[in-house]
Amino acid sequence: MKINEYIESGILEAYVLGSASEAEANELLHLKAQHPQIEDALFKLESDLERIAEHMAITPPPNTWAKIEGGINELVKTPQFEYLIGEEPKESSRGSRSGKSAQFIEVEAESGHMRIRKIWRWVFLAVFVLGKIFLAFAIYYYLENRHTQEEIEKLKTELENKRTK
C-alpha cells in the first residue's frame, strides 16, 4: 500500500470527523502504529479541526459554569441522575441505592417513595403499643366508673326507700 495515496484518500479526515467505519478505523490504527507519516498527518488534522472549532467558538454567558455546577449538584442529590439525557436507568445506579437500604426503611406509596431513618420503626412500634395500653386502661376505667355510678344510684334508691318507710 502506498502511504501517500492512503493519506490523500480522505480516510484520515473521515476518521478524525468520526465517520470512518469500524474496519477503516482498525486499519488506520494498525497503519498508524507502523507509519509515522500517518501519525503525523492525524495529529495535524486533529489540530486543524480544533483550530476550525476555535474560529467558530461562541463565548458562553458568564453564569454557564454555575448552571453546570448546579446541574451536577442536583445529580449528586438525585439518585436517578442517569435519566438526564434520555437514557434508561441502569442497574448500576440501582445497585448504589441498595447500599442505602441498610440505613433507611422505605415507606412505599402508589405515587413514589419516602425515605425515613430505621430508628423510626421502633418509635412507631412503641407509639402503637402504648396506644393499645392506654386504650385498654381507658376502657377499664370507663367500665369501672359506670359500675360505680350504678352502685351509687342503687344505694341512693335504697336510702330513699328507707327514709320513706
Binding site: 473521515a14 470527523l17 486543524d48 476555535e54 474560529h55 446541574g71 445529580l75 441522575f81 441502569k90
Partner: protein, 157 residues
C-alpha cells in the same frame, strides 16, 4: 459496566470537567449552535452535555476524552440521542448561512458543504452519504478531504 455513584461524581470530576470546560466550552457552544441555530437552546444543550459528561466521568477517563475531537464526538452522540434530537439543517432547508458565525462554510461548494456538515454535525457515515449522493465512497471521501482542506486554509488566514 460504568460505575457511577454520587460519591464518585463529587470526588473526581470538578477540576477535570472544569478544565475541559475552560478549554472547550466556547468551541462546543459554537458547534452546538451550528446544529440547533438557536443561542438559548444551544446554551441549554451545552449545560446538558457537561452534566452528562460529569456522570460519565469515570468512563471518560478510561476512554480519554481530553481533546476537542473526542469531546465533539461525545457531544454529537449526546445530541443525536436526545428524544427531540436536533439535526444540522442544510442550506437546502432554507437556513441562511449568513446567520451563522461560521464563515468557513460559505467557502465550500454546495456538495462539499453537504458532505462536511453531514459528517461533522449529523454523524452520518461516508457509506450512507455516498448512497444518498449516488457517488462512490472514494469520491465522497475526496469531497470531504477537499472541504476540510478549504476550511483549514480559511482558519489559517
Amino acid at each position: 459496566m460504568l460505575e457511577t455513584t454520587p460519591h464518585s461524581l463529587t470526588e473526581h470530576q470538578p477540576e477535570s470537567i472544569r478544565s475541559l470546560y475552560d478549554r472547550h466550552a466556547g468551541m462546543l457552544l459554537g458547534y452546538i449552535f451550528e446544529v440547533v441555530k438557536d443561542r438559548k437552546l444551544a446554551e441549554e444543550y451545552l449545560i446538558k452535555v457537561f452534566c452528562d459528561l460529569s456522570i460519565r466521568f469515570n468512563d471518560v477517563n478510561r476512554t480519554g476524552i481530553s481533546g476537542w475531537p473526542q469531546l465533539q464526538k461525545f457531544a454529537r452522540e449526546k445530541l443525536l440521542s436526545l428524544p427531540d434530537s436536533p439535526r444540522y439543517t442544510s442550506l437546502n432547508a432554507g437556513v441562511k448561512i449568513s446567520d451563522s458565525p461560521n464563515s468557513y462554510l460559505r467557502q465550500l461548494t454546495e456538495e462539499q458543504r453537504q458532505v462536511f456538515c453531514d459528517v461533522y454535525y449529523n454523524g452520518r457515515t461516508i457509506a450512507d452519504i455516498s448512497r444518498s449522493l449516488n457517488k462512490t465512497e472514494d469520491l465522497t471521501r475526496k469531497t470531504l478531504k477537499e472541504a476540510f482542506a478549504i476550511m483549514r486554509k480559511g482558519s489559517e488566514n
